[in-house]
Symmetry: C2
Subunit: 515 residues, 2 copies
Amino acid sequence: MAVQHFFTTLFFSLFIASLSSSFQPLALSSSPFNHPPRFPTTTNHPRSQARPNEAQAPDYRYETRYFTQQLDHFSFLELPTFQQRYLINTEHWVGPQRLGPIFFYCGNEGDIVWFAENTGFLWEIAPQFGAMVVFPEHRYYGESVPYGGREEAYKNATTLSYLTAEQALADFAVLITDLKQNLSATDCPVVLFGGSYGGMLAAWMRLKYPHIAIGALAASAPILQFEDIVPLETFYDIVSSDFKRESSTCFNYIKHSWNEVTSIGQTRNGLVQLSNTFHFCQPLNKTDDLWNWLESAYSYLAMVDYPYSANFMMPLPGHPIKEVCKRIDGQPAGTSLLERIYEGVNVYYNYTGETKCFELDEDPHGLSGWNWQACTEMVMPMSCDPESSMFPPYKFNYSDYEEGCIRNYGVKPRLKWITTEFGGHKIDATLKKFGSNLIFSNGLLDPWSGGSVLQNISESVVALVTEEGAHHLDLRASTQNDPDWLVEQRATEIKLIKGWITEYHQKNKVMFDMF
Amino acid sequence: MAVQHFFTTLFFSLFIASLSSSFQPLALSSSPFNHPPRFPTTTNHPRSQARPNEAQAPDYRYETRYFTQQLDHFSFLELPTFQQRYLINTEHWVGPQRLGPIFFYCGNEGDIVWFAENTGFLWEIAPQFGAMVVFPEHRYYGESVPYGGREEAYKNATTLSYLTAEQALADFAVLITDLKQNLSATDCPVVLFGGSYGGMLAAWMRLKYPHIAIGALAASAPILQFEDIVPLETFYDIVSSDFKRESSTCFNYIKHSWNEVTSIGQTRNGLVQLSNTFHFCQPLNKTDDLWNWLESAYSYLAMVDYPYSANFMMPLPGHPIKEVCKRIDGQPAGTSLLERIYEGVNVYYNYTGETKCFELDEDPHGLSGWNWQACTEMVMPMSCDPESSMFPPYKFNYSDYEEGCIRNYGVKPRLKWITTEFGGHKIDATLKKFGSNLIFSNGLLDPWSGGSVLQNISESVVALVTEEGAHHLDLRASTQNDPDWLVEQRATEIKLIKGWITEYHQKNKVMFDMF
């Protein structure tokens, strides 16, 4: 088994990798990676829909159900409905009389079973809350695909056109409303959870559907990564500083490696030489592919730069960036720059050592769900600063981005739509006035943290920031290796959520104390 | 000119009348009017698009502009855009440096010019606020029609499918965002206004787009007239009690007239007899038409039961219901019941006395905008109580309603969608927690008031209720005949809006006092 496939395609599937493979190379002299910025996501490769680590999959019990959804909630066009899959567990639920809470995970861009298995926090805390657990799948992902199946649904821009965040939120709202009614639980409080894009959905849902849910834990949710709300260099600057803090030598090796790749690639047999250095099974077609492969590794490592050995998507040591840099820095004198780089990224792509050679990831389908979303609503502009970043300098260019989307997907991105619909500019003022019962949790090592809310907005709109945290570690199951700050972070989250529910119960005159 | 056409088709165009004429008669033994409940609206008859009272049209100055809108904001289907018309006046605007406010009227179901001319309050107060005035037209009404024109846009359920409230709100959000950007006025506070359905849009917009507008005056906005949030009998009970309070004799005459109509209609030549009694130009085809005609008059009279002679849509005396009842009660002994009724409704249909005979309103197009909205999202169930109402007993029946919509429009109403999307059940809790800077103004004579918010929710979500008020009189231009309570109501509205803007200015550190 080519383990590196596993690495690159699951979970934070590298938007770069998948999008760049479906994109025709754009003639962007200024772009280092020939792609729009990535976003954490499971890929939409058929193989990503299978569960990773089947053998180790946690034993969370649930029933799988399906709910008939409108394809377009906001028009009355005659369209086929589709079946939205959701996982549900009511065994700890104290029921409607006691206003038992409903914990609702806002499914994001991938198979919901995988998210359920990787959101242990929710399963672990449900019993102490007497809560029902619901994991609905996001439309167009996993099994919740319209038009009878993935092939048809992903065929073109017309069939994909209903893959939007607003439609997904409306799915959730309709599902919750129906579920509650069927369970005679209309008065039961709903608490939203979500990580990454799912965290964005949770936060937006709390703002847009305050009548549906009483609060939301939005973990690693970069709701401000749009337009120019945060500096465009933020993402790659954080990745870079994650490396720099481990070793400035390492940072510099990486910073210089890009040109080295290009130089060698331009020589006769250069691509073959690069392919050998990096142990690719097939010769590289172009140096861009290697750039993307490397960039993916670094960015992903920053997202999962967890403090202990984890098998989030694949086995990695604790503090993996430290390990990568140790390898890059620690090679004997005389080792070439690119050989050092290879040794480093090998930690990411091949920590088990099982892979003999690497296949470059190719998306056989061309269109994947997140790529579509990135080319329609989820335009997250990013640049690379020539000084602070270890990546090649790059200035985001809207026209080029748009051009690529039109050429590849036949769709024009709506650059300002997300902030028009959900806000973003001056979010503090909006959240202060309108938000409540919202937790934005972030780990500062996570490059997505720069696009999230990192400061307390009000008494009930709270930022939980961990300096040593990475991408929504708090949502994962607890382990014996959890550092104190993580244990504390989760305890604070539990306390805050209990506060929301207690307040709700008091308002609704529940005469008993649940906690 | 047949004046009664003017009466029945403009402004609160009687949904009953227009919908019942396009509906095939439903076989509902329990339904007195064979139609879904009406909603205040200008009709979509071509003639309603002309301005009433051209000669008396107030002289509000504005520029007419057009803005290119997406037909579907929530999908990326390749669809034609359309031109949204909006009226704009910046002559009193103090500009972006002083954070001059933007007064934005949420256009409702009709020609925006007509709404602009009938919303004098906004024009009158703009100068003291240094405010810009914007009146955007609601999609599918007036000139803001997609597909190149009304005929095409109203052709069938497919072309009509994007006529929804959420799309209209998104139009407003996109327009405001663009306008502000073009005027370098991104920091200028937006205050929303709206009456009737427009008031619902204003309230919903304040809730759904808190980042776009700082407050809303929602006049006579029945946002709770959905599902069973308010008793289904509310609307017709208010109409009935408006009559009863003037005269219980009158109330009883009307209450007994329905069966009389039916009895006579069933006799040989009965329809001709009825047509003569009520001075129809053509013989009635069925008694239902007369029922609808009468019901329209009573309901509309309740909405415009203003305290002084007004020419809202047509000339009516002050306290028109008092006048109607005076006529019904005051006929000489021996006058038949239906002759009394005729004399009464003649106040409504023919106050000027110019009409020699009445044409029954027929919608030549079959499909009208509001009828479509009522058959898709805006399902407002209503019943008539056998005791408290002066109307024939009627119990609302969802299946029949749905059946009619499917048969006539090829569309299935989404009965629970509005409350899922915007809330409604337990609105107090939602508004308390999330709402702010919201005024719900209502006159208790208005039958729509029963479906609105009539109690203060919090310090900044305020209900302004006038006992003697009817349908959003507060939004109209002031007159010399305004009673004290109306003058006070408007003064309170001005004070509250000033408070919102002052607070906003303080937060944004505007160093001068505007008021």
